[in-house]
């Protein structure tokens, strides 16, 4: 895919997401009791960290704090619909009502703990440059184009600021195995597919180190 094509595809994708999100807001409802929401939040935080800042389990468990609500809701649906492959998160999400998913997304979106940190600080400067400028020769657009100049995310585009660096690495090198797993039901993950493919591991590690410390 050429860079110009990606640039054209992005506004289209954003528009599509905007319209689908407004359609869903109506059927979400508000039938979640305060107590059941609180228990579910504690359940999520057992693995995702007490402030949603992420946690290192057997594999890196991502930061949810500050994610756009649309991103969290779309990922929960993606687990349920097998668009995104993860057995643990399928088990977790398939019992959640739409109203509960909306309420959880709102809760985590409003949190703002300090990043967990831990990445190599030596890579931060190189990562920042890659994040803001992309790699034109490799047809990699600037990450900031979709994820925002401060990496705060936008709609179904995730926030990356403060994300666990080894989580970012795991996701990008396994993109094809985990995302967009239902060919009949393509989703926003298709945008990232060629980009993830064209990035080298050292480039991903540098970008991930920059994002790891970004507040």
């Amino acid at each position: 895919m050429k860079l110009s094509n990606i640039r054209l595809a992005l506004p289209t994708a954003i528009l599509a997401i905007f319209f689908s999100a407004t359609g869903r807001a109506e059927d979400a409802g508000t039938d979640v009791s305060k107590q059941s929401l609180q228990s579910k939040i504690e359940y999520c935080k057992t693995c995702h960290g007490v402030s949603g800042q992420g946690f290192h389990g057997a594999t890196p468990i991502p930061r949810l704090a500050g994610q756009p609500t649309e991103y969290i809701e779309n990922q929960l649906r993606a687990f349920i619909e097998h668009r995104r492959d993860n057995r643990y998160m399928y088990t977790v999400s398939h019992v959640l009502s739409p109203a509960m998913r909306t309420a959880l997304a709102k809760h985590f979106s409003d949190l703002n703990p300090k990043p967990l940190g831990g990445a190599s600080k030596e890579l931060v400067a190189a990562g920042k440059k890659l994040y803001n400028e992309g790699i034109p020769d490799a047809q990699v657009p600037p990450c900031a184009t979709c994820h925002g100049p401060e990496a705060k995310g936008n709609g179904e585009f995730p926030r990356l600021a403060g994300q666990l660096n080894d989580y970012i690495l795991n996701k990008l090198v396994n993109w094809n195995k985990e995302r967009g797993q239902d060919p009949a039901n393509p989703d926003i993950s298709a945008i990232m597919q060629p980009i993830a493919h064209n990035l080298t591991k050292p480039q991903i590690e540098a970008i991930a180190a920059y994002l790891n410390y970004l507040e």
């Binding site: 693995c47 057997a58 019992v95």
Partner: protein, 208 residues
Amino acid sequence: MQSVKTQMMKFVIAKTAVVALIASVLPALAEDMEPASVRNCTWCHGASAQGYAPAPRLAGQRSQYTENQLLSFIKHTRDNPFSKQYMWGATANLSPNTMHYLAIYFSQELPKAANDGDKDLAASGKTLFEDGNPEANTVSCAVCHGPNAEGVRDIPRLAGLSYYYLKRKLTQWGEGYHVAAKAPMPGIAGKLSSNEIEALASYLSFVK
């Protein structure tokens, strides 16, 4: 006054005794190159550190976990009755270097599964270990302890630990022991029912 002959006899007997003593000790020393610090552990944890009675298996345990536990005995934050009775004293004089050495030493011993749980409960224990119970907000154990309960970094290996040890440890969290342990275990274990604990401990005792 002793005769010269008697004195000679005494000398010979003494010398023979010393030689005999050295001869009896030397092969033992040659066979057993383990330092005294390792032997002090294996008295209770078993000669190959597979665990014995109340003492859990140390063989194959993650070294960072073992080292953290040794520290927690010294700081008295691991405070269940057996810890107080045995481990607080046993670790009191360990230097940081010795703790580090012991943790690595035991992590390299091959673990054997205890196989002492209830076989009929293993299947339900496996489901609980892998998937938790999402309706009841019980998390999956495998997310942190690994799909085969192998552990990682300071998260302990649970595979093949003794049923009795696992059951006791999980129950003690619910009784308020060991609350200083890093989140999230006190909160998770405290909510498990005794049936769930029996099932988990049974399943894990068979995992290789």
